[in-house]
């Protein structure tokens, strides 16, 4: 009895979470252009994706910004984390508090404040400003992912390496970096996820020059989104779900996958 109740409850919650997604996937095969009207099965929208210049361009910008922002913020964030970890007490507390601001502030405030900076210094909004904005909000997450690993690191390890004749650079590369790699990887994954999914901050910093997928969808939403966007998202979604399931299968014996 209790078991059935639990099953029904979980079923309802998961239906609630998946209903809109199933709907989007179904409508990516819909012949009729209007949402809510079923006009027969078609694959046309999937072919349309590869012809539509607007969509291809938005996809290109989304991926380019995400890759560049991830690479740059991971490198800069890791270096900064190593530096901040070795700061004296007060500068360390201060830097970490400032670093937390983009994490704690609502996205809209971060977006608006960066837009204010760019426009009041007469920097034209476009691809460059969007990229900078993404790096600005990604670095703090990389730092927050790397710092705990640095705290676990045995301080004497690097010192021992240097006592044994390693130069500081070699000690950093051969002793510190390998130890904090898990933190760097989870920081990079976090940065990529946040960047590829971002709408609010891009919306305020991209101007009219560069449009990513989220901005394109937002501009279409009130008039009606092209079914080819549904098709593209379905493809991306299936790729991600497949990857997640593979990772899940592989790490089934390893305890936690998230956090």
């Amino acid at each position: 009895m209790k078991k059935t109740a639990v099953r029904i409850y979980m079923g309802l919650i998961y239906i609630f979470l998946y209903a809109p997604i199933i709907l989007l996937i179904v409508f990516s095969f819909n012949k009729s252009k209007s949402r809510g009207q079923w006009g027969g099965f078609t694959f046309d929208w999937y072919l349309e994706v590869f012809k539509d210049r607007q969509i291809k361009e938005a996809l290109f910008y989304t991926i380019l910004v995400a890759v560049l922002a991830t690479v740059i913020s991971t490198i800069v964030g890791t270096i900064a984390a190593i530096g901040i970890h070795n700061f004296k007490r007060f500068p360390k507390a201060f830097s970490l508090n400032v670093n937390n601001l983009p994490v704690l502030n609502p996205d809209i405030v971060t977006g608006v404040s960066l837009m204010t900076l760019f426009i009041s210094t007469s920097i034209p909004l476009g691809f460059g400003t969007m990229l900078i904005a993404h790096i600005v909000f990604c670095i703090p997450y990389v730092i927050l992912a790397v710092l705990p690993k640095l705290k676990q690191l045995n301080r004497h390890l690097a010192e021992a390496a240097m006592d044994l004749g390693a130069t500081p650079w070699v000690a950093l590369r051969k002793v510190i970096l390998p130890e904090i790699t898990p933190g760097i990887i989870s920081g990079a994954l976090l940065a990529f996820t946040l960047s590829i999914d971002d709408f609010v901050i891009s919306f305020f910093t991209a101007g009219t020059e560069a449009t990513n997928l989220s901005i394109l969808i937002y501009s279409m939403a009130k008039r009606g989104v092209k079914p080819s966007i549904n098709a593209l998202s379905t493809m991306l979604f299936i790729v991600v779900v497949t990857l997640l399931l593979i990772v899940n299968k592989k790490s089934e014996k390893g305890e936690e996958l998230y956090l």
């Binding site: 409850y9 209903a19 530096g83 070795n86 609502p106 670095i139 500081p168 950093l172 937002y218 989104v225």
Partner: protein, 305 residues
Amino acid sequence: MKKKNPSMNSSASDHHHYKKHAPTSTRYLRVLGYPYVIWMVIFIIVPLLLVLIYSFTKGDIHNLFSLEFSADGYLRVLEPMYLKVIMNSFWLALISTFFCLILGYPVAMIIANTNPKYRSILLTFLLVPMWMNFLLRTYAWMSILSPNGILNRFLEWIGLPRLEIMPGQTAVLLGMIYNFLPFMILPIYTVLSKIDKNLLEASSDLGGNKFVTFIKVIFPLSIPGVVSGITMVFMPAVSTFVISGLLGGDKTPLIGDLIEQQFMTNRNWHFGSSLSIILMVMILISMAIMSRIERNNDREEGRTS
């Protein structure tokens, strides 16, 4: 400084005796942090200061030096029309957080009590929807809830009256709960899954039934998860402009919609900045309250144990 710690100094000079260049502590690595400090000043502190300056001034936004002090932005916030919007945003965010907690806590508990074999599958499928673009998911709700949408057609088909909830507050609320529910479930699950099972056994050995065990043992221990869940839902809910823009129409703007309008269409940065500062302060106060609740909880636990 030099004389304060002679033993340290002598050991350091000993080392220098052996090797001339290598320093003996990782302190030198602090230089790696300096460029980022400059970056933070330019891209985090200065932008927020600019917003603060614009919120207290009037005049040409492109010429910082021509700005004059003015409290107009904040005075305008006090107009009944805008006050209502702010109260409404706060209220909607509060209700959606409440529903996420009510709906999400049982889910977290059920997952935590599931056989570990199936746990990671349940968790993965909780996160998978987040991999569909957030705007597109909200857009899908538009096609479900709109006057001629799927929900209404279904209701008509089974002979029930139509629901006119979109555009409107109910639709916005639903959109918020839908989008932020996983943010409530995950932190609560994380805490619940770490509770020592012996505590629950002890409670039942001492005569506590399931309800008492929940109220006296499980719930107090899960407060940190609940607190971070509430923060993670409330913050994006109170500052959203996408969900309200798509599902709420023009009837029920939230503070996020106002800010977006002032910066993107009305070009009144001064009023927009005042609204942003007020939003920030609202969130800071809420976070302070939450961390106080958590601290009180810690203290109480310390007293009883």
